[in-house]
Amino acid sequence: MKYILLISILFPPASFADENVYSLVIKEHRFQPVEIDVPSGKKVKLLVVNQDATAEEFESHSLNREKLIAGNSKATIYIGPLAPGRYTFEGEFNAKTAHGVIIAQ
């Protein structure tokens, strides 16, 4: 715990300019929008709003991210800086329907 506090003092979360915040909505086990364009080489903040009553797990191996989002709640996911390219993500709990891609350019 002390260690984590120490780390949080050493590396305060960077502040984000508005243009680097992107929102993503989960509704009826689908992501909206399905495609998000982000700038490459910059840290990006994803604001995910889960409008379904059930939880979802945002998962992307190519982005090296996974995060549980409770039903009817919001979550913040920091990604990047990314090299130009396509990064797919999915909702693990509803992998049939919940797909999306982040395009860094």
């Binding site: 090296n64 995060k67 979550a75």
Partner: protein
């Protein structure tokens, strides 16, 4: 049905492997079975509580509560695995053969058992809360395939447990002279893998820089979604897109715990030599 079986298998596998390896490693420690069972039970109760408070935890610390929670849980598990392995290095010969030493070991054995209890409870807690949320989601959605998906989920739990039992039974078949070496290497790799995962959560929370991120992309050779990839991920921390910082944590854990084991082992040998000389 298959989809839910695969998800539950993946969720259960990690905890099952950790329990299997530790159950084998502590099989000669008296009372360890009861502590292990208690750890599973407390972990299950805890995962229901964590699952129910996912939204509350998630909103703590400006939306990075979940990452902090996971990093802390993993951090404690790494410390406990380190303690376990160093304790084992110091007591390996006594546990294997020297029954006379048992009297003095019982008190130590108790603290070893509480480490075991905590590791198992935390492993079940972490993986269990995700499983609870997933299964609850199925149960809450009134669809036609609902019962088939629940059945699939249960099949996944059973399959994961079978693999955990498999590694336990396999380790017990090893000859005694390989046994301690094999289990302590497995526990050492588990600890390093958890240290790397803790770093992953701190990077995700933007509390740690990722350094080179990703350091490499081996998804074309071995995907993390495959069974082999998932097994290697759990057993030795394999990732297809790791951040450089994760490798730093991995190597640091290997080095620190490895040195501790080496020193504890050396001390034991010195004591044995002194005893023989006297």
């Amino acid at each position: 049905m298959l989809a839910s079986a695969i998800i539950m298998f993946r969720e259960v596998l990690e905890a099952a492997l950790i329990i299997g390896i530790l159950a084998a490693a502590t099989r000669t420690v008296s009372g360890s079975r009861r502590w292990l069972a208690a750890g599973v039970l407390v972990g299950l109760i805890g995962s229901a509580i964590v699952a129910a408070s996912t939204d509350v935890i998630g909103e703590l610390a400006n939306g990075i509560g979940q990452e902090l929670f996971n990093a802390i849980v993993l951090g404690i598990a790494v410390l406990m695995l380190a303690w376990h392995n160093i304790w084992m290095s110091a007591h390996a010969s006594a546990l294997a053969a020297d029954a006379r030493a048992l009297g003095s070991d019982i008190r130590d054995g108790r603290s070893e058992c509480s480490a075991l209890f905590l590791i198992v409870a935390l492993a079940v807690l972490r993986e269990g809360s995700e499983s609870v949320l997933f299964l609850y989601g199925i149960a809450a959605s009134a669809g036609s395939g609902q019962s088939a998906m629940l059945l699939g989920g249960i099949a996944g739990v059973v399959a994961g447990s079978v693999v955990g039992y498999g590694i336990y039974a396999g380790l017990l078949r090893l000859p005694v002279r390989w046994f301690f070496g094999a289990t302590s290497v497995l526990v050492l790799l588990l600890a390093a893998s958890m240290a790397s995962q803790a770093a992953h959560y701190l990077i995700q929370a933007d509390l740690l820089p990722g350094l080179a991120s990703p350091l490499w992309d081996s998804s074309a050779i071995l995907s993390e979604q495959s069974v082999a990839g998932k097994l290697l991920h759990t057993l030795m921390g394999y990732e297809s897109h790791p951040a450089g910082m994760q490798l730093v944590f991995y190597a640091a854990a290997l080095f620190v715990i490895g040195s501790g084991m080496f020193l504890a082992n050396g001390k034991r040998r010195a004591t044995l030599r002194a005893k023989t000389a006297a």
